[in-house]
Amino acid sequence: MNINNKQRIVIASVLIMGGLATFMTMNITSAHSAVAQVADQRPMPPEPFTIAVNGHAEPAVVATIKRGQTSQVDVSISPNISGITGKVGVASVFPICGTMNTLPGKCIPSGITATISASKVTSPTHMVVTFSVSNDMPVGVYSFEVAASTFGLHVPFQAAPVNVGNIDSFAIQVT
């Protein structure tokens, strides 16, 4: 049987297409079976805690502190889910300048320390955040946040235990 050039090209193309289709089918099949391998997304779990800083559950200026002084603010944290334990912490929202790269202007000078009186919560609890402001801290309003998070929580929609937390942002004014 004689095969001309045109037929050769068609046959070669069909073979290439067939091979490629087989290859792609394997890839697509493996991609589908590999769906479990890629990051999975699911609906949100319930939020585990209610946090209020000096009674504020949303951002507010909760204290005015003079440079060189120490001040305390009240924090209340209540679990919303029976039986959970939360790890508690306090930190400035913006990183201390020079410690972490962030967007321009979104860091704060060092000069404020913040400590919280408890490290975990298992039931509705009041605790205290103590701020110490250095003499050379620039005057201004600075954002902080109290966070409580629980680990290994079994929640609806999630195939495995998840880590879930709440963050309450607030601000202090340094004068």
């Binding site: 050039n5 297409m17 779990p45 195939a159 709440n166 942002s169």
Partner: protein
């Protein structure tokens, strides 16, 4: 010879048409959900940042299915692929959108942190997502920040350290995502599209920012599709999710 070239061209065209189909086979939305927005897989990023305009509310049905919009990207960690995403989550009561930080991997290692930040339309929000290089004190952690461009006190951040999140993102997204497939539930955003603007990335930690070359995409889990009334456009550093007569 002309015929040969014609046949060869037809075959080459068919091949080139099929290659993107294969590329799309990597699903980003495997669990009964859909995403519409912009994405990029051509750059590697250590940091991504985007401004976004807060849209109107979506309906209660969409909310009950969990609806959110977010920026972020896929990282490669020792646990496999991890998705990091600062997010605005839809709520059924006013204010209608809430800031949430989240990461997720295929094994169910998930971190969610609900912030105390809430918004209604109109507002302009910045979403920021960052990974740290080897040797950095935060190496392996993920820093996410949500901030109000018009109110410096409306800001929250989180250093997520539940696992090793990797050092760079291999693909970048800005998307509306939902587990609700009813287009009518999104009529609230007919008049207020979700604009992601100044969508920038830095290839290295602390490096200079450049616009992300985003392309419009729509993605859904197998057997599902996004409501046809929701579409997106994208360009360099910008993507917009639009609802049209939902």
């Amino acid at each position: 010879m002309k015929t040969n070239i014609k046949y060869a061209s037809i075959m080459l065209g068919a091949l080139l048409t099929l290659v993107p189909i294969a590329a799309e086979a990597t699903l980003a939305c495997p669990s009964n959900c859909w995403q519409v927005g912009g994405r990029d897989t051509s750059v590697t990023a250590a940091e991504v940042s985007a401004n976004v305009d807060v849209p109107n509310a979506v309906s209660n049905n969409a909310v009950s299915g969990s609806t959110q919009y977010w920026i972020g990207g896929y990282t490669t960690s020792p646990l496999g692929t991890v998705l990091t995403q600062p997010t605005l989550l839809a709520l059924s009561t006013s204010p209608h959108w809430r800031g949430v930080f989240q990461t997720a991997d295929a094994s169910g290692n998930v971190d969610y942190n609900f912030t105390s930040l809430y918004w209604n339309h109109p507002a302009s929000i910045n979403l920021f997502d960052e990974l740290f290089p080897s040797g950095n004190p935060f190496s392996g952690d993920n820093f996410q920040q949500i901030s109000d461009n018009n109110n410096v006190n409306n800001v929250a951040s989180q250093v997520l350290s539940g696992t090793t999140y990797g050092h760079t993102m291999s693909s970048i997204y800005g998307a509306l995502e939902s587990y609700d497939f009813t287009g009518a539930d999104f009529s609230g955003i007919d008049t207020t599209p979700i604009h992601f603007t100044t969508f920038d990335y830095a290839a290295t930690y602390g490096g200079s920012f450049a616009a992300v070359p985003l392309s419009a995409y729509s993605d859904a889990s197998t057997g599902h599709s996004a409501p046809t009334c929701i579409t997106s456009t994208a360009g360099s550093g910008t993507t917009t999710v639009t609802a049209n007569s939902c």
